[in-house]
Symmetry: C2
Subunit: 214 residues, 2 copies
DNA sequence: GTCTATAACCAGATAGAC
DNA sequence: GTCTATCTGGTTATAGAC
């Protein structure tokens, strides 16, 4: 079930090709919305990419705005599945290692998920205010509480847990969002598997030290 | 002189009001380009904000694309002035403290400069490829060399200097780019002066520890 | 359900008066 | 230099054939 809406998806004999088409459309739409922006994205151009008539796209998703919302929703669902759960019963070193590694892997494997989300937030979170106010705020407070618990037990440095979460988010997502800049600076055409490993090692190491866990 | 172009600006008796108008237009345009995206931004809406006829804006900047480029250029110039110089003769602790503090101050004082830049990079750096390939790449390599020098002297932890620079960029700019998300999560309407101080303290402290400088 | 053709709209750019 | 009025092109969305 989705995070943004609670609607049910009907399954009938047509739904296989339709679901298949919808997947392809969402992927193409995400690329188009990222490179051209919301207004700059044209439904025609998305239709061309998936080789379907423009009217079909609008038939599936009603209009451009709903298509964009579907892209955002799919992104949030993807993240929700992927984000490692920080368990109060574990120890902080283990939790941070898993959290950082998960976020780095996600940034390299699905950079577009991070990008479309970043674009939306930078432009003012118009479509995600409610999601942020309810779901994300609760998530941050819950995790911050766990970190604070560990701090109170003297298990890690006495630092602001919320700022720690922001630092982990930003430093990991940077490799997705600023991909084009990083590749150009390093004079490379694309990321390699070794980059994922090196960045994970660097960030876990650095952040653990910042938390006095190493 | 600007980073992107090397053109000269003529100064005559009309240039005072013209320069004044251009400043206002660029500020309004930056806001419009951020909230609406490049294609979504309308010259009419920028004209309305500065209370000038649309044709005047186009007369000043020739066309929408050149106006956007002027906004980017102004942003880069602003950053260039602001970014603290890391001096090879100084010590790493001092350099990082100044660098982090400068970036945090800039993020809180001029969030829109960071936002318009982030939007451009996330969307593929189309207009900044050349700037990144030449100017920014050289800047990163030069600073990385200085860090490496300090590492070789055993003055700080043996970590990848380029990844350290990326971490400082991302963790500081996050407070500008993700402003809307951070404020919503913390249930606040806007940043306060105390936030600048707290974030600066948190980040310098954390990063210095990551570099084994504390 | 699918697709073609078209309506209705809006934006950038410019011609030309002042 | 400044501004009004207009042209032109491209977009979403829909009506209606298949």
């Amino acid at each position: 079930m989705s995070i943004l809406s609670k609607g049910k998806t009907k399954i009938n004999k047509h739904s296989i090709t339709r679901a298949d088409n919808q997947e392809k459309i969402l992927k193409a739409a995400r690329e188009e919305f990222i490179s051209q922006g919301y207004k700059g994205a044209s439904v025609q151009s998305i239709a061309d990419k998936v080789e379907l008539p423009k009217a079909n796209i609008l038939y599936y998703f009603d209009n451009k705005e709903k298509l964009y919302l579907a892209v955002l929703e799919q992104t949030l669902d993807m993240w929700d599945k992927e984000i490692d759960h920080i368990d109060v019963n574990g120890d902080p070193k283990d939790a941070i290692e898993k959290f950082v590694a998960g976020k780095v892997r996600m940034s390299f494997k699905e950079p577009n998920a991070s990008k479309i989300y970043a674009l939306e937030i930078i432009q003012g979170s118009q479509h995600l205010k409610e999601y942020t106010r309810t779901y994300l705020r609760a998530w941050v407070r819950e995790k911050a509480k766990i970190f604070q618990h560990w701090i109170d037990q003297g298990k890690m440095a006495d630092i602001d847990p919320v700022k720690l979460i922001f630092l982990i988010w930003s430093s990991t997502q940077h490799y997705a969002d600023f991909e084009s800049q990083i590749l150009t600076i390093m004079n490379r055409a694309e990321y390699e598997e070794s980059d994922v490993i090196e960045v994970t090692e660097f960030l876990t190491d650095f952040i653990l030290r910042g938390c006095k866990l190493k």
